[in-house]
């Protein structure tokens, strides 16, 4: 007998699965649900609601092509925004109207008599209707998505879509800008700043891919404003430094020196003639101030170091010299003399007590050495794609690298979708290699729950001439990963995945959003009349979209109102009862906020408006979020419908 034992035929498991599937599909419940879903979908198609919705989206999308735009990429993004916005808007209206009216419509027209008297439970009826409406939304978004892709394709086909828009602002009157592919199609001569001291700024727009800029821009500050995610390589300028012009003011016994920006090796000469300095031979406070933005240390993360410098104050007349090492303090507010009335400025400041002998006379030279800014003021910017994760970074000025250190600290920036807690940051690995010696090292970068991480390049891996080769491993296409070195400013921007895939994921997000609103409207209609259910859905949808604003408003109103008993109680200026009451209100508000849905999580515009792509994690998160709320709405709807009488 044992010899007759048969092995299972290869197709057996498959046939068992098919039998199981057939059995499941052939059960009465599934058939009834399928019938109700088909009926709802058929109704939407035959009543031309679906056609109307898609037609409106197409009309909006076609209209967006008429929008003026100089740059291809901007136009494409604009068209994408328009189409996705139209899909969301019309989908929301359709979800509210279809969901809110399908069940009341059946009840009012008494068609429900012919269904509910058949072997259909009320739960099956609501589930079938809800699934049918979700199917309507799916078909709508499928067709609308095709319209979006088609219109976007038309928009991108008008000009070369690969172009990008970049503005190069040059603070130099004699800037010469050449490109490898010919003259830059620039709009020159636009005077942006005219204070007479910082020179004239020119705006240069580069509209083609692979355009590189080379040339000498002496004594200029270059700022690159990235407007899109496309590829742009900016060739290394010969030298970049900050042109600083000093200005001195006298106020009582203070001498205020102000500078635009600060750079290592700057030498400034302040003209002190004409100033009525005190006659007494005593120290004079010299307040040194330069403008700049502080990069706020985020909560729980490493704080940025404060800028440091060595100042040498020298009086050419008396040949007296004072050396001060300082660590600047960041301040914010009006500086009285320079800032417009009522306008706040941000600056770093340090006050030096200089002897009278140094400040006497007509001039004061200030030399700044060993300047270590908290954040790079300017630098070379590289943009790349995921296809090119390896970069050879050259042009290190060994003199500018920190001396006497074994490592050089570099900062990694990871830009991801803030507010999405489920984003999985597993970190990545950076391989640093010295091209001259071939020596390399893998440096792990832990990005879990961080946007910023520091790594330390071994000093020996950075060669003054050959540079350093940096390879980013374990890249996540949905993340934008940047690398910025403190001393050698460098920024790598890795392009996310394709535009089309991102659009598809955006539409998926909208689908979950619309599914939720559909079920919400259908559930509401089990208790409310059709117009009220539609209105209710619209109000919830709109208020959910601005939940953050409401949250902010409530929080501010609860906690920051003047004379708030909570605040007073904290300072011992209110009774315990008042404090407790305020606490109660506070907790209630927090609960309300926690329960209220925030539809920002579904919003594709949240990503699109920022020029980001929609990651899969956001779609997954949106799906989970929608399913939870759909389940809650459905249970409530069933509870209401179960007790409802059809008179």
């Amino acid at each position: 007998m044992s010899g007759n034992s048969k092995s299972a035929p290869p197709g057996r498991s498959k046939s068992v699965f098919i039998m199981l599937l057939r059995h499941t599909c052939s059960t009465g419940e599934v058939r009834r649900l399928a019938a109700l879903v088909t009926l709802t979908l058929r109704e939407a198609i035959r009543s031309r609601v679906l056609l109307g919705m898609v037609g409106l989206v197409g009309l909006f999308a076609a209209g967006s092509l008429l929008w003026p735009g100089d740059v291809d990429r901007e136009r494409v993004i604009l068209v994408q925004r328009f189409c996705l916005g139209a899909l969301t808007l019309f989908g929301l209206i359709a979800a509210a109207f279809l969901g809110g009216s399908t069940l009341p419509g059946d009840i009012d027209s008494k068609r429900i008599y012919s269904v509910i008297t058949k072997p259909v439970t009320r739960l099956e009826l609501l589930l079938g209707k809800a699934l049918g409406l979700i199917a309507v939304m799916f078909v709508f978004l499928l067709l609308g998505g095709l319209v979006t892709v088609a219109v976007t394709h038309v928009a991108s086909a008008r000009k070369s879509y690969a172009g990008g828009s970049y503005t190069l602002e040059v603070t130099a009157p004699d800037a010469e800008i050449q490109t490898e592919t010919g003259p830059v199609p620039a709009r020159l001569g636009q005077e942006l700043v005219a204070d007479g001291k910082t020179g004239t700024r020119y705006a240069v727009t580069i509209a083609r891919r692979d355009t590189s800029i080379s040339g000498t821009i002496p004594k200029s500050s270059v700022e690159l404003h990235e407007r899109s995610l496309d590829v742009l390589r900016v060739a290394e300028p010969a030298s970049l430094s900050v042109l600083c012009k000093g200005r001195a003011d006298f106020s009582h016994t203070e001498l205020l020196l102000r500078a635009g920006r600060l750079a290592q090796g700057d030498t400034w000469r302040f003209d002190l003639s004409g100033l009525r300095l005190p006659t007494e031979d005593r120290d004079i406070d010299v307040r040194f101030r330069f403008t700049g933005h502080r990069y706020e240390p985020l909560r729980g993360r490493e704080a940025h170091p404060r800028p440091q410098a060595r100042f040498i104050f020298r009086n050419p007349a008396t040949r007296k010299k004072v050396t001060k090492e300082v660590e600047f303090v960041f301040r914010e507010g009006s500086d009285g003399a320079g800032a417009p009335r009522g306008r706040s400025i941000k600056y770093y400041e340090e006050v030096f007590a200089l002897p009278r002998s140094v400040t006497a006379g007509g001039t004061l030279d200030v030399e700044i050495t060993d300047y270590a800014p908290a954040y790079p003021e300017s630098g070379r910017t590289y943009y790349g794609s995921t296809e090119q994760p390896t970069w050879l970074i050259r042009g290190f000025d060994p003199g500018k690298l920190p001396q006497g250190q074994q490592t050089i600290r570099a900062r990694f920036l990871v830009h991801y979708t803030r507010g999405l807690d489920l984003v999985d940051h597993t970190g990545l690995t950076v391989e640093v290699r010295n091209p001259a010696t071939g020596e390399s090292k893998d440096l792990p970068v832990d990005l879990r729950s961080k946007t910023t991480s520091y790594i330390h390049f071994p000093r020996r891996l950075i060669d003054g001439e050959a540079g350093v080769e940096v390879t980013l491993k374990d890249l996540r296409p949905s993340h934008r990963i940047g690398y910025k070195s403190k001393e050698c400013p460098l920024y790598l921007l890795l392009t996310p995945d394709s535009f089309l895939a991102s659009t598809a994921r955006s539409i998926l997000l909208i689908f979950f959003q619309l599914s939720l609103f559909t079920v919400l409207a259908a559930a509401a209609s089990t208790l409310l009349s059709a117009p009220v259910a539609i209105l209710f859905t619209m109000v919830v949808a709109l208020s959910g979209g601005v939940k953050d604003l409401i949250v902010q408003g409530l929080s501010q109103a609860q906690l920051a109102a003047p004379g708030n008993p909570f605040v007073l109680a904290a300072h011992g200026e209110a009774t315990l009862q008042e404090g407790a009451w305020t606490w109660l209100k506070y907790i209630f508000t927090k609960l309300l906020i926690a329960v209220a849905p925030s539809f920002d999580r579904f919003s594709s515009t949240y990503f699109v408006n920022r020029g980001w792509t929609v990651p899969w994690s956001a779609v997954f998160h949106g799906a989970c979020y929608a399913l939870i709320y759909i389940a809650v709405c459905f249970c409530l709807g069933c509870a209401f419908l179960k007790t409802r009488e059809f008179e």
Partner: protein, 290 residues
């Protein structure tokens, strides 16, 4: 099976109430029985509680007090609904569907396999005479056609119990006769039919038993023959008598002590006259065509 109770109510009471609305007693302690295989008529003037009673029996509304059993299960039970067919007062159907799709939809609701569904669809469309309009959307149907498709959907599951609410309303005399014949045919197949109608001649033609409601209360229930028969009167129908023969017959009956004798020619019903004329016309057309 015949003679078993299919529908039974026990002190069935329904009071409509609502917020800021006065209470309305629609059905008051109703106790009635419908037996298997009979055609039962539920009669009563407007507002007597007929519709409320049928809604209670179909589970559309819930009783305030008492209970009802349909096919041995509580009213509204899903298992029992599989054996019930229902024709509403108006044909409240999905008007964007055509006849085939309508029957297919309700067939799916009953979980009927596709092959059986198709066969029954064809049979029922032929039964109600909608072959030429089977592909037309219901929104284009006349009232009579809507009633026909309504009847067809009520029979899609080959039900044991059929609720018919005003089945002949909107139909022409031929259609009414066909529906009545259909009801009798269903009865012949052992089905139970519960009929709600204002058209008393229809009830008289097809019903075995009736219940008469008034203000939600059951006033009378019983077999139609028992209720209608005038036991103190005798009707004699003879072929045409001459006046002389009539006089002789009166004298003969007077001799037996029956003084109150009425002799007259009986009237045909308008319905029978109409049917006779239409039938004659149709036969003439048929002969001319040949």
């Amino acid at each position: 099976m015949n003679g078993e109770t299919v529908i039974q109510t026990f002190d069935l009471t329904k009071v409509y109430s609502g917020f800021m609305k006065p209470e309305v007693l629609a059905v008051d302690r109703l106790n009635m029985q419908v037996r298997c295989g009979e055609v039962f008529g539920l009669l009563g003037p407007n507002g007597s509680g007929k519709t409320t009673t049928t809604k209670l029996l179909r589970g559309l509304i819930f009783p305030t007090r008492g209970r009802a059993e349909v096919l041995g299960s509580p009213a509204g039970d899903i298992a029992a609904k599989e054996k019930i067919g229902f024709l509403p007062e108006e044909s409240y159907l999905y008007r964007f569907l055509n006849a085939e799709e309508t029957l297919d939809f309700y067939g799916k609701i009953f979980g009927i396999p596709r092959r059986v569904r198709r066969r029954r669809t064809d049979e029922l469309i032929e039964l109600v005479g909608l072959q030429s309009a089977r592909k037309r959307a219901l929104r284009g149907y006349s009232k009579g056609m809507s009633r026909r498709i309504g009847i067809a959907q009520a029979l899609i599951n080959d039900p044991e119990l059929i609720f018919l609410d005003e089945p002949t309303s909107g139909l022409d005399p031929i259609g009414r006769r066909e529906v009545k014949e259909l009801i009798l045919r269903l009865k012949g197949l052992g089905k139970t039919v519960m009929l709600c109608t204002h058209l008393l001649p229809d009830v008289q033609d097809v019903c075995d038993r009736v219940a008469i409601l008034h203000n939600g209360r059951l006033c009378e229930e019983g077999a139609l023959d028992d209720l209608l028969v005038l036991k103190n009167k005798t009707q004699l129908t003879v072929d045409d008598l001459t006046e002389k023969e009539q006089e002789q017959l009166k004298k003969f009956l007077a001799g037996m002590g029956h003084d109150k004798v009425t002799m007259t020619h009986p009237y045909d019903t308008l319905s029978s006259l109409f049917m006779r004329i239409i039938e004659t016309e149709r036969q003439g057309e048929h002969v001319r065509e040949q």
